[in-house]
Symmetry: C2
Subunit: 141 residues, 2 copies
């Protein structure tokens, strides 16, 4: 199962993802050979961006969520931690603008030069009315 | 960028995904070496399941969404079509039960024996209040 890189993240997050990343802008530079796959994307206000967190440890299976030792030790499959066997990030972003092969988005939690592996339309399939989750999950972040 | 298989889908979808898949049950059999990553997952009512659609064409960049020729030709990055350069499915499922390394879920749109590559907690990060998308996207499916 080999991934291809379809684009790259361009932003100012070189060392850390800022706490207010949801208000920050990033660009996604889609490689020329995948430009046809963008047809019509500007009709969406939001997109789902899949990144490959190439700086993440793939061997860690349990974490204290959000790096807080007060949160109970939790399996990575029960978190959104970037450390996991396949370090794929799934982030819903606002699509501000398309400029050719460049997507300008708001709310991406990925470092500068992170490989992008997929983009999907955001639909109401992602909306669950009354989800239950542990107390350490911040509500309505 | 090499993916590892962390589990497999077990269900009755051998040839087609049924239209009422959202009401259908599947099992996800997590491989033994990743069982630690499941710690605490049963506290979540919903999980995000990432599958590798190993039967999908990776060369197609544009489709008529949902196989309907009346829908406009659209780039796969503006759809949820299973055909795409990296055929990763992202599906929010209800977690009915955990039985050891087996997760019983409702609403998975993957064939029998599809490789599972990641599982994440479902949180309100996936909820957008007023998304805009083209008319061909079914609302509140």
């Amino acid at each position: 199962m080999n991934l291809v890189e379809v684009g790259r993240v361009v932003n100012e997050f070189n060392k850390d993802i800022p706490e207010d990343y949801k208000e920050k802008t990033s660009e996604i530079h889609i490689h020329e050979q995948y430009s046809e796959a963008l047809l019509g994307i500007e009709e969406h206000s939001h997109i789902v961006v899949l990144c490959w967190f190439d700086r993440s440890d793939r061997t860690i299976q349990q974490v204290h969520p959000m790096g807080d030792a007060d949160n109970p030790l939790t399996g990575v499959f029960a978190t959104r931690s970037p450390v996991r066997p396949n370090p794929i990030g799934v982030t819903v972003c606002r699509l501000i603008e398309r400029k050719g092969n460049v997507l300008v988005v708001e709310g991406l939690d990925a470092y500068e030069q992170t490989p992008v592996i997929d983009i999907k339309s955001y639909t109401t399939k992602y909306v669950i009315d009354d989800p239950k989750f542990p107390n350490w999950v911040p509500d309505r972040e």
